[in-house]
C-alpha cells in the first residue's frame, strides 16, 4: 500500500477533504456562534469551493501539464465564475 501514500494525488485529496470539512463548519451554525457574519461565511464557502475546483483541474485533471491555451480556458472559467458569483451575491 506504499504506492497509495506515494501517489501525488494523496496530499491533494487530503487537502480537498479538509477544505470540505472547513466549508461545512463555516456553513453551519457553528460559524454563526463564532461571530462570523453569514455573508462573510457564504462568500468564504464559495471561494473555498472555487479553490477546490482549481485543485481538481490542475492536479487531478493534469491541466498543469496541458498546453497554455487549454489551461488558460479553464483558469478563465474559474476566474469569471468566481467574480460573477461574488458580484451577484453582494450586489443583487
Amino acid at each position: 500500500m506504499e504506492w497509495l501514500i506515494r501517489s501525488k494525488a494523496t496530499p491533494i485529496w487530503a487537502l480537498l477533504f479538509a477544505a470540505t470539512c472547513m466549508s461545512w463548519a463555516l456553513g453551519t451554525c457553528r460559524a454563526a456562534r463564532s461571530g462570523v457574519s453569514l455573508e462573510l461565511a457564504s462568500i468564504a464557502v464559495m471561494l473555498i469551493a472555487m479553490i477546490k475546483i482549481r485543485f481538481v483541474l490542475i492536479h487531478f485533471m493534469e491541466l498543469k501539464h496541458a498546453p497554455w491555451i487549454w489551461r488558460g480556458l479553464f483558469e478563465a472559467w474559474v476566474a469569471c465564475v468566481s467574480i460573477a458569483l461574488v458580484t451577484t451575491y453582494l450586489l443583487i
Partner: protein, 198 residues
C-alpha cells in the same frame, strides 16, 4: 487513440511535453458543460437574492450531512480514478481495476444517498413545484446526478477495458477520468451553493 496523447502517456511526468491528457473532444465537452453549469450557479444566486427569506427557509429543510458525505464520496472517487490512471501508465492493471471498482462504489454511494434524500423530500411533500428553491434544487441536482450515472457507465466501460489495456492505451482511461473529475468538480460548487450559502 490520439497520437499526441500517446506520447504524453509514455513520457515520465517530469519531462512531459505540454500535452492535454486524453482526447481533445472530451475536453471540449467538459468545458461546454462547465460553462452551462457556471450559468446555472449565477442564475441560482440571482433568483435567490429576489426571495432570500424563502430560499433560506427552504434550504434549512435540506440535510447538510447528506450533502457533505456526498462531496467526500465524489472527492474520494476522483482520488481513486487519478491513481487508477497512474496504475494504467505503469502497466499495473490489477491495481487499476481495484481502484476503478472503488471509484465506482463511491459514485454508486453518491447515487444511493441522493435517492434517499429525494425519497425523504417527496415524503415531506417537497417537490419540484413546491417553490423556486426546490425547483432549482431538484433541477440542478437532477441534471448533476444524470452526469454521475453517465460517469458510472464510463467507469464500467473502463473496468471492461482494463484487462487487455497496455500503457499506450492510457489516453482512453485519461478521457474517462477527465469526465469523472468534471462530475466531481460540478458537485464541489453545487453543494455549498444549495446547502450552505445563505
Amino acid at each position: 487513440m490520439n497520437e499526441r496523447a500517446a506520447v504524453a502517456s509514455s513520457v515520465a511526468p517530469g519531462r512531459l511535453a505540454k500535452v492535454l491528457p486524453g482526447e481533445e473532444g472530451v475536453w471540449i465537452l467538459v468545458l461546454g458543460d462547465m460553462i452551462v453549469f457556471g450559468l446555472f450557479f449565477i442564475t441560482y444566486l440571482y433568483y435567490r437574492a429576489q426571495e432570500a427569506d424563502l430560499f433560506d427557509r427552504s434550504q434549512a429543510l435540506l440535510n447538510r450531512d447528506f450533502g457533505v458525505i456526498n462531496t467526500l464520496l465524489l472527492l474520494t472517487s476522483s482520488w481513486f480514478v487519478v491513481m487508477a490512471v497512474e496504475a494504467v501508465r505503469e502497466g499495473r492493471n490489477r491495481r487499476a481495476k481495484t481502484l476503478l471498482r472503488l471509484a465506482f462504489l463511491c459514485g454508486a454511494g453518491f447515487c444511493g444517498i441522493k435517492a434517499l434524500e429525494y425519497t425523504q423530500k417527496f415524503r415531506e411533500g417537497l417537490t419540484l413545484v413546491t417553490n423556486d428553491f426546490f425547483m432549482y434544487y431538484f433541477m440542478y441536482t437532477g441534471i448533476h446526478v444524470l452526469h454521475v450515472a453517465i460517469g458510472l457507465g464510463v467507469l464500467i466501460f473502463l473496468m471492461h477495458k482494463i484487462d487487455a489495456a497496455r500503457p499506450q492505451d492510457a489516453p482512453v482511461f485519461e478521457s474517462g477520468a477527465t469526465f469523472w473529475h468534471m462530475v466531481d468538480l460540478l458537485w464541489i460548487m453545487l453543494f455549498p451553493l444549495l446547502y450552505l450559502v445563505r
